[in-house]
């Protein structure tokens, strides 16, 4: 399948970029609907960042508490996102998550069990009932392996029918996509290179599903792997799609802080869900001092009540260690700033005095292992030191809730790269279920789109040539080392557009980003095209800089604090801003424009699931008047 330019060419119906949970679930769906599907991923098959998810997949199955149902889950999700969520996505997610989890079980997943043999569910921050299906603290691995094995199962079916494992679904591992191709308005394919050889590869396909995850590698302290360079976000922008909610970045409250080489690596929220508590250097459980007004009636106000909750949830309120992640991260940040931090600049997370050693090893095996091996800390005997780490971006490609379709015909997105579902802050456990629910929907959306096409969009040779030249450029230059440019971007974003933001600092970051753009155009990569990480980074920098600009511009514009966006100069939540989405786009491919768009009001049957008193904390007077009208009718 070689063409004259020595670029491999492949024809597919659907190209899925990314092989984490969302990508694999999308690919499985597309293939199950009879579409020829390619999965393209930067790492080996089965290594995607989904493996890092520890806590579980949130799904209101009601196995542990029968009072749980989709409406409770929907409410928790909206609350967690401070009511900025795309409510249709939150609704679909809450309704469909149980089916998606059960389906995994039919594909071979082995979740931990309840006494009566059902899937066990654990407590997590922001979830009213025990809701997370889990396998110890390695749920992400179970999810990725199950989906990987499902792909293999489909390949085995195809081998039986067609004599070729890869007749309908093929994994292009260690392959990076650098450009999406278009015929007029519509997607016609994707262009990339094999990491192993540096050779180019062209996918001729009318539908592309982006499932590339997040952008964490623009920050120094992050729980994200090298793959998280915002590729899908940037590819979508460059293809003419919009990104929304880019100012909202989740700093997970508990990342490791020591040793320096593992700074940022995640410490699962399950530690708190299973009884772990946060203390400052004075030994105080400081989270009791940080319960925000909107959550006052939902959280325990004394340690005694919080402790009783673990065994009696009907009669006690949950401890404030289990507030949504944005609240906990800000509280830790504030304690450290006030000089009450731990020796290595975090706070103490202690489970050793809360559970017997054997129980800790059973419930949190990989945390026990991680601290033992990487930090010489035995979590059954001493507290951990933890601090906030850049973990997840709520913002992403603006999509249609039901189909995952972006504004560009033929382009779809699911998982972390899409925006809207989580509003301004994602609840723990809602990511794995998001991947499954919207991965499936994007795969189905792509299949349906293809069926509706009158003719197949064409790959235009000049676009391929442009993409080739763009990718090769760093190899021909003897410019600056890409690692240095990357490091400066990471420092800038970490220091100036981090967990707490102010206008001057964000403006300063934008000036730095502007200069970095110039430097990115000049970076050079030594060596050949064969497995050359310096060259790969030089190419990824384009994406990281573009996406960082989106984050900074949106962060500067949103003059309030909400979820994963905290402005020191605008500390309050402003109901006027709640309905406003900030939409990023680019026309010239290098500068970002941000516009305000008003989010449509929640459907009547959904808004009436909430108490008036709660809504009052989030909505404008005008919206409250509308609500009263609706409530009166129903």
């Amino acid at each position: 399948m070689e063409n004259t330019h020595n670029t491999e060419r492949h024809e597919y119906d659907v190209v899925v970029i990314g092989a984490g949970g969302a990508g694999l679930r999308a690919a499985i769906e597309a293939r199950q609907q009879g579409k020829r599907t390619a999965i393209v991923c930067k790492s080996l098959f089965g290594k995607a960042h989904t493996v890092m998810a520890e806590g579980g997949a949130a799904a209101a199955m009601g196995n542990v508490n029968p009072d749980d149902n989709w409406m409770v889950h929907f409410r928790d999700t909206m609350r967690g996102g401070k009511f900025l969520n795309n409510w249709r996505m939150a609704e679909l997610h809450a309704k469909e998550a149980p089916d998606r989890v059960w389906e995994l079980e039919a594909w071979g997943a082995l979740f931990d069990r309840t006494k009566d043999g059902k899937i066990s569910q654990r407590n997590f921050g922001g979830h009213e009932y025990p809701r997370l299906a889990h396998v110890g603290d390695r749920t992400g691995l179970e999810l990725i392996r199950t989906l990987q094995q499902r792909v293999v199962a489909l390949q085995q079916e195809d081998y039986e029918t067609h004599g070729d494992y890869e007749a309908y679904i093929k994994v292009f591992a260690e392959c990076t996509v650098t450009r999406l191709l278009k015929d007029g308005d519509a997607i016609s394919g994707a262009f990339g290179y094999w990491r192993e050889t540096g050779n180019f590869v062209l996918f001729d396909a009318p539908a592309v599903v982006l499932a590339t995850g997040g952008i964490g590698k623009s920050y120094v302290v992050t729980s994200n792997s090298w793959e998280y360079t915002g590729d899908g976000h940037a590819l979508a922008l460059l293809a003419g799609a919009n990104l929304i909610n880019m100012e909202f970045i989740q700093f997970h409250p508990t990342g490791m802080v020591w040793p320096p080489s593992v700074r940022g690596i995640l410490v699962t929220e399950s530690v708190r869900g299973d009884g772990g508590v946060l203390r400052n250097s004075e030994g105080r459980r400081f989270m009791f001092d940080y319960i925000p007004d909107v959550f006052k009636d939902k959280y325990a106000t004394t340690e005694e009540e919080g402790d009783r909750w673990y065994t009696d949830q009907a009669n006690n309120r949950r401890p404030p260690e289990l507030l949504p992640r944005d609240e906990v991260a800000r509280a830790i940040n504030a304690e450290v700033k006030a000089g009450r931090g731990s020796p290595q600049g975090g706070v103490f997370l202690d489970v050793s005095t809360r559970l017997p050693a054997e129980e800790i090893k059973k419930r949190l095996p990989s945390m026990h292992h991680q601290f033992k091996e990487l930090a010489d800390v035995d979590i059954t005997a001493e507290p951990m030191q933890v601090g906030p780490t850049c973990h997840y971006i709520m913002g992403g490609v603006e999509v249609d809730a039901d189909t995952g379709a972006a504004a560009v015909p033929g382009l779809f997105a699911a998982g972390e790269v899409s925006g809207g579902m989580h509003g301004s802050n994602r609840l723990g456990g809602n990511s794995l279920s998001d991947l499954l629910v919207f991965g499936r929907r994007a795969g189905a959306g792509a299949a349906e789109y293809i069926d509706s096409l009158a003719s197949r969009p064409k790959v235009l040779p000049e676009q391929v040539e442009f993409a080739r030249e763009e990718a090769l450029a760093p190899l021909g230059r003897s410019g600056e080392n890409p690692y240095e440019v990357h490091h400066e971007l990471q420092r800038t974003m970490n220091d100036l557009v981090g967990i707490i933001r102010k206008a001057e600092e964000v403006s300063e970051a934008l000036e730095v980003v502007e200069k970095l753009k110039e430097r990115v155009r000049l970076v050079g990569a030594a060596g050949s095209r064969i497995y050359n990480p310096g060259w790969h980074l030089a190419i990824d920098l384009r994406n990281m800089v573009l996406v960082s600009e989106c984050v900074a511009r949106a962060a500067l514009m949103r003059e309030e604090s909400r979820g994963g966006h905290t402005r020191d100069d605008f500390p309050g939540m402003d109901p006027e801003w709640r309905r406003k989405l900030l939409v990023c786009s680019t026309e010239d491919g290098s500068s970002v424009k941000v516009r305000v768009r008003v989010q449509p009001p929640m459907r009547d049957d959904l808004i009436t699931l909430f108490d008036r008193d709660e809504l009052k904390k989030y909505l404008t007077d005008e919206e409250m008047a509308e609500f009263d009208g609706i409530a009166k009718k129903s």
Partner: protein
């Protein structure tokens, strides 16, 4: 706190290569993968290495450190003395693509040859009921992060390229055991384990168990019980008679 360490790192591509000497800074708390990254950033920008999570959860950075299969991200520099020269080479059992990166496609091919989870017909999603105690054994095997170090270290294929066709390695023999012990799997896997995947080649030297970064007891809990199941089947006269009369399994 920080010192200069001496490293020898395998460099090369296309079947050729050599150990290259480096002197490189090491700081407190660092792991071997940090040092490889420092080499990339300061001395050898095109040095090839696979990695992802840097927390021992994805199994990408398998390499041989002073001749032992290890994850680069879980090997702390403090386990070596400051004057020791540390030798880093790619996994030996798989062909080298470049530097520390090997072609591990053998493993993906073997994965495909193991028939997938086969539930009984008629059990719908959501209807599965299993006791914790019944899923624990297979759960242990599902902890596998597919670093492929067990397959790398296994002497059946480490120095015997010719055995690769008939031997799936500890990783995938364990996968067969995992499915065989899954409470809902109905496929007959025991004969295939012996005939097609080479279970008989394993002479339980436990090298795989020793290198497993997840501390899975591959030999004791997967391979030996699997061998016992195969043997029980093969030498049980009633089963033999049953097979003759009812042509079971055919």
């Amino acid at each position: 706190m920080s010192y200069k360490a001496k490293f020898k790192v395998w460099r090369g591509e296309g079947g050729e290569g050599r150990l290259e000497d480096f002197t490189v800074e090491v700081n407190e708390g660092e792991v071997v993968l940090d040092i490889i990254h420092r080499l990339q950033a300061t001395q050898a920008p095109d040095l090839a290495v696979r990695w992802n999570c840097k927390a021992g959860k994805c199994g990408s950075c398998s390499m041989e450190i002073n001749g032992k299969p290890r994850l680069g991200c879980m090997t702390r520099m403090s386990t070596f003395s400051e004057d020791e020269t540390i030798t880093v080479t790619p996994m030996r059992t798989f062909p080298v693509i470049k530097d520390l990166v090997t072609d591990v496609s053998y493993n993906y091919q073997k994965a495909r040859e193991v028939p997938s989870f086969t539930p009984p017909s008629g059990v719908r999603p959501g209807e599965y009921r299993m006791k914790q105690v019944d899923v624990e054994r297979s759960q242990e095997f599902r902890k596998c992060i597919e670093c492929f170090m067990c397959n790398n270290v296994c002497h059946v294929i480490r120095d015997h390229e010719e055995n690769k066709t008939n031997f799936s390695g500890p990783r995938f023999l364990m996968r067969i055991a995992e499915l065989d012990m899954h409470p809902y799997d109905v496929a007959d896997r025991q004969e295939a384990a012996q005939q097609e995947h080479g279970l008989g080649y394993c002479n339980i030297t436990k090298c795989c168990t020793e290198v497993c970064p997840e501390h899975i007891k591959i030999t004791d809990n997967a391979l030996i019980p699997m061998k016992e199941r195969v043997v029980d089947r093969k030498y049980d006269p009633l089963v033999w008679l049953g097979n003759k009369i009812f042509r079971r399994g055919k």
